[in-house]
């Protein structure tokens, strides 16, 4: 009789553990999905801001046509990109094009003094920050989700219910990952 009760208690404990793990996996999966949405929201905001910015600066930087076109092109490519890896690559290109535009804008004092441009620039740099913070948060929560799935013995539950590891948002482009080389050797 005691053995029977012991067995029942064990089964109940096991079921409770499985339910607990399953629920925490579900919670994490939703948090990961939400984290990804947050990145999306910020990316969309950036896409919306860019035509605005280009229209405002056009008058001042008419002859930098090429740079402006590159920004627009990169923006359109980013809008139509799909899949985590592809989006990351296209958004990276857009960031590069934008930073080139801002670097060039430094040469136009009247442009820099324009209140409208200043505000747009603040909005865009804030959006850039939000994108990277949203990525940082997404990667943190996705890593947590993956760890919970992979550690023993919870990995059995993850497999049983078909949980998939979340993909991390990585910088795919070699150019972005590369550390700038600094030459400090003394030349005579």
């Amino acid at each position: 009789m005691i053995a029977f009760y012991g067995f029942v208690i064990l089964v109940v404990l096991l079921v409770a553990w499985v339910i607990g793990k399953y629920n925490s996996l579900i919670t994490l999966r939703n948090q990961v999905a939400n984290g990804w949405k947050q990145i999306d929201v910020q990316l969309k905001r950036r896409h919306d801001l860019i035509p605005n910015l280009v229209n405002t600066v056009k008058g001042y930087m008419g002859f930098e046509q090429e740079t402006l076109e590159k920004v627009i092109k990169a923006r359109n490519a980013a809008v139509s990109a799909t899949g985590v890896g592809n989006i990351a690559a296209k958004e990276g290109e857009l960031s590069t094009a934008l930073s080139r535009l801002f670097a060039l804008a430094e040469n136009y004092p009247t442009l820099k003094a324009n209140e409208n441009v200043k505000q747009l620039q603040e909005e865009l740099s804030s959006t850039e920050n939000k994108i990277s913070f949203a990525r940082q948060f997404y990667n943190d929560i996705a890593t947590k989700f993956n760890i919970v799935q992979q550690v023993f013995p919870a990995n059995f539950i993850a497999q049983l219910f078909g949980f998939q590891a979340a993909e991390l948002f990585e910088v795919k482009e070699a150019a972005e990952r590369e550390v700038p080389t600094v030459d400090l050797s003394l030349r005579k």
Binding site: G35, Q38, Q42, Q119, E122, E123, S125, S126, N129, K130, F133, A134, Q136, F137, I141
Partner: protein, 313 residues
Amino acid sequence: MAQLPPNIYEQQAANRRNTIIVMGVFTLFVGFLGFGVDAFVLGTEIPIATFIALCIGAGTAFWGLNNGAVSVLTSAGARPVPPEDPKYQQLRNVVDEMSIASGLPRPQLFVVPDQDPNAFATGKDPEHACIAVTEGLVERLNREELQAVVAHEMSHVRNYDTRMMTVVAALGGAVMLLSEFGLRATRFGGGRKKDRGGLGPIVLVLWLVAMILAPLITQLLSMAVSRQREYLADASGAELTRNPLALATALGKINAATEPTRSIKKGTAHLCIADPLGRAVNSKEGFVSDLFATHPPIGKRITLLKAMAYQHG
């Protein structure tokens, strides 16, 4: 003081526990006050005053938990940041950025009309968090430094430091008032007390000691609580921005502005990022400072942040 800060989960648990302890002790203290009235003034067999006082104490404690933020903000003269004013656009943006980085809901944003740079956070949980900064802070700090200060405050919110400190701020003042009241009542009511045999004088002495010590204990508690948390909030704030140097320069600028932050009263000093009163005890190290300072020395905090920046490369 060189020990490593505890991790965030321990910190959260400790804060929840300490909040309950503070509320409980406060309730008992008010109850004890009522007991004094029962014993020395009314002299009845049924402890009516004790019972009423316990109820009032518990009520006030819960009121403090839920409305502490409002009273803290009101006493500092904080007003909500106007949503369209371009002057605060950058501040609103960095707050949004930090709420994304920490994964917490966006806190309500307030500005204190004061030229001295300072900031504090309050609210019972991340859903009801409020961050207040002074006008001087917005004017003097650049974008990165402002972001670092907001990140520090968001860390206080995430660690539930704000809950603990708001309750202490809300109830601390009440303890001081009640203690004063209790001591006065003893003086007036002393002659009327009924004879309670041998126990009477002992109880009276205990009661007096509690009345005298209560404000001091409250003060020490709020100080010890806040000092420990500043290091952790610095560290986890830097983890959010991945930019410890910005917080180091921000603290340097806050420290360089020697004027005290006049809008912030003594009772809420422990909530701020840097001591608003500019007290000398806060810039020293050693036993006395460890006991009485509300903030760790800024020089030490800056050194730690710089070391962190060096490790990150």
